[in-house]
Amino acid sequence: MRGLRRFLGRHLLTAFAILGFVYILLPIAVIALFSFNDPAGKYNYNWQGFTFQYWREVLAIPALRDAIIVSIEIALLVSVISTILGTLIALALVRHLFRGRSSTNLLIFLPMSTPEIVMGASLLALFLNLGVSTGFVTILLAHVTFCVSFVVVTVKARVTGFDRRLEEAAMDLGANVTRTFLRVTFPLILPGIGAAALLSFALSLDDFVITNFTKGTVITFPVYIWGAARIGVPVQVNVIGTMIFLIAVGIMAVGVLVSVVRARRDRAIAAQAVEAH
């Protein structure tokens, strides 16, 4: 009886997990499938026939191509600025005890827990009241504002697991503060910084709601899709969606593999050291 219950428990959970993954991946499968569709009219809702045409002509629509270029430009700048600002804050929060720490934590948390529509509306209220005309620069300012907190959280996770004795060792060996930071600290937290930079790039590229409030007449990739949603989204959008998924899986899988290989290597080195002892 107990064995039966355990068997059921085990497989029920597995079945549930499989269903869960089906649910998570279903929309992606639909996006990918319809990137090969050859729709009869402008609406890409029903399966008509298989074609590679839109993968070949992915940048054939000038308005879409321009929107993608604008989005990538913004995402690159946002990624650089927010990673610098956020990494500095993360270092301060993990390394230093200072007055105002908990207010700093709160100020980092609030933008993440503010609905996008409130952030977008408040930024537009600011720009309207100050007479700033909205456009490329205001989108940039807005995106950095919501990315900084995510950078702080990502880098903080990495710096927290960091062994400070490595820095002390470098200092004992005669390295000064600058040299210790550049040769020891920075390389060790670099994976965290890299992950944070990629995350801000992705967040910026994806944002529609806040961009919609701060865009002026600039059209980013999501703004283009929003406009096209009413009149029929071109198949190319599915192609780009599929590409983003593949790139995301690729980058994260490489990250996982690298950490697995590293862990194995570290274990091997430790085992050798024990043997030599």
Binding site: R2, R5, L13, T14, A17, G20, F21, Y23, I24, L26, P27, I28, V30, Y45, I84, L88, I89, L91, A92, R95, H96, S102, T104, L107, I108, F109, L110, M112, S113, P115, I117, V118, M119, A121, S122, L123, L124, A125, L126, L128, T145, V148, V152, V153, A157, A202, F208, F213, P222, I225, N238, I240, G241, I244, F245, A248, M252, A253, S259, V260
Partner: protein
């Protein structure tokens, strides 16, 4: 460098200064302007004047009460649905994933890097009248022959549940992943059956994750307007739809600001309760 060595206490302040000044100017100050705009009156032709009248708030609360109530309802149902789907899934990954754990996690997160609007449009295709799901449901008689999924509350809630899923899944995963499996063995050794071990050991340990996930899912869900617009009809519109259309279409800035302030106030109450319960350190992980 010499200055820093003489004043080591200045170091953290110099590190946080650029970021905090940025957030001060572009997060805190805008909220002030939002509040100030919400207390203005007038229209786009005659201009808006600071009148410190609360009429925008009463108008918002009376005229758009259905949308406000709907936002809370939809967000609550979507949060609960996300919890029910996410918990067993991340439990499976964290406890049974073995060497595939990291790759399963990649598979869980990657879909959410695909542009939000494209994901929502995919649900439009999935739930469409001539789509597969509606066909099956009509055949087995779960919905009427002319029944629909698209353009219903169900579609909007389903879209919200899906789009904010990682906000629920990741905190629970982190909580379940950190805990020591030997605790369960110990519970087993002490003659707890698996169900009891789960209820007495696993569940309490994962509760902070559940709590964090609930909060981080509910908040953006409440402010959402994209799902209601793309998967619903005006009958499903939420407070976010009102704010966005008043701001960007009708150009009634004061009324729209009042709506946004009300939304933010509701959420701040939640965040402060959360911070009091768990402390500020947990806020940023």
């Amino acid at each position: 460098m010499g200055y820093l060595r003489r004043h080591p206490r200045a170091v953290p302040y110099l590190l946080i200064a650029p970021g905090l000044i940025w957030l001060g100017l572009l997060f805190v100050v805008p909220l002030y302007y939002l509040l100030s705009t919400s207390l203005q009156s007038g229209d786009i032709y005659e201009g808006f004047r600071q009148t410190f009248s609360w009429s925008n708030y009463s108008e918002m609360a009376s005229q758009y009460r259905p949308q406000l109530v709907r936002s809370i309802q939809y967000a609550a149902i979507a949060t609960l649905a996300a919890l029910v789907i996410a918990y067993p899934l991340v439990y499976f990954i964290a406890r049974r994933g073995g060497q595939w754990k990291s790759l399963l996690l990649v598979l869980l997160i990657a879909p959410f890097f695909v542009t939000y609007l494209i994901r929502t449009l995919a649900w439009q295709t999935i739930l469409a009248d001539e789509g597969l799901i509606v066909g099956v449901l009509r055949d087995v008689g779960l919905i009427a022959d002319d029944g629909r999924l698209l353009a219903t509350s169900f579609a909007v809630v389903a879209g919200i549940t899906y789009n904010y899923f990682p906000f629920m899944a990741l905190p629970i995963y982190v909580a379940l992943e950190q805990f020591d499996g030997r605790l369960l063995e110990a519970a087993g050794d002490l003659y707890a059956n698996p169900l009891k071990a789960f209820l007495r050991v696993t569940l309490p340990i994962s509760l902070p994750g559940v709590f964090a996930g609930t909060l981080t899912t509910f908040i953006p869900a409440m402010g959402d307007f994209v799902n209601a617009q793309l998967l619903g009809t005006p009958k499903q519109y939420m407070i976010g739809n009102v704010i966005q259309s008043k701001f960007l279409v009708v150009v009634d800035y004061p009324l729209a600001s009042a709506g946004a302030v009300m939304l933010m106030a509701l959420i701040l109450v939640g965040v402060f309760l959360y911070a009091r319960a768990l402390g500020t350190e947990r806020l940023t992980g």
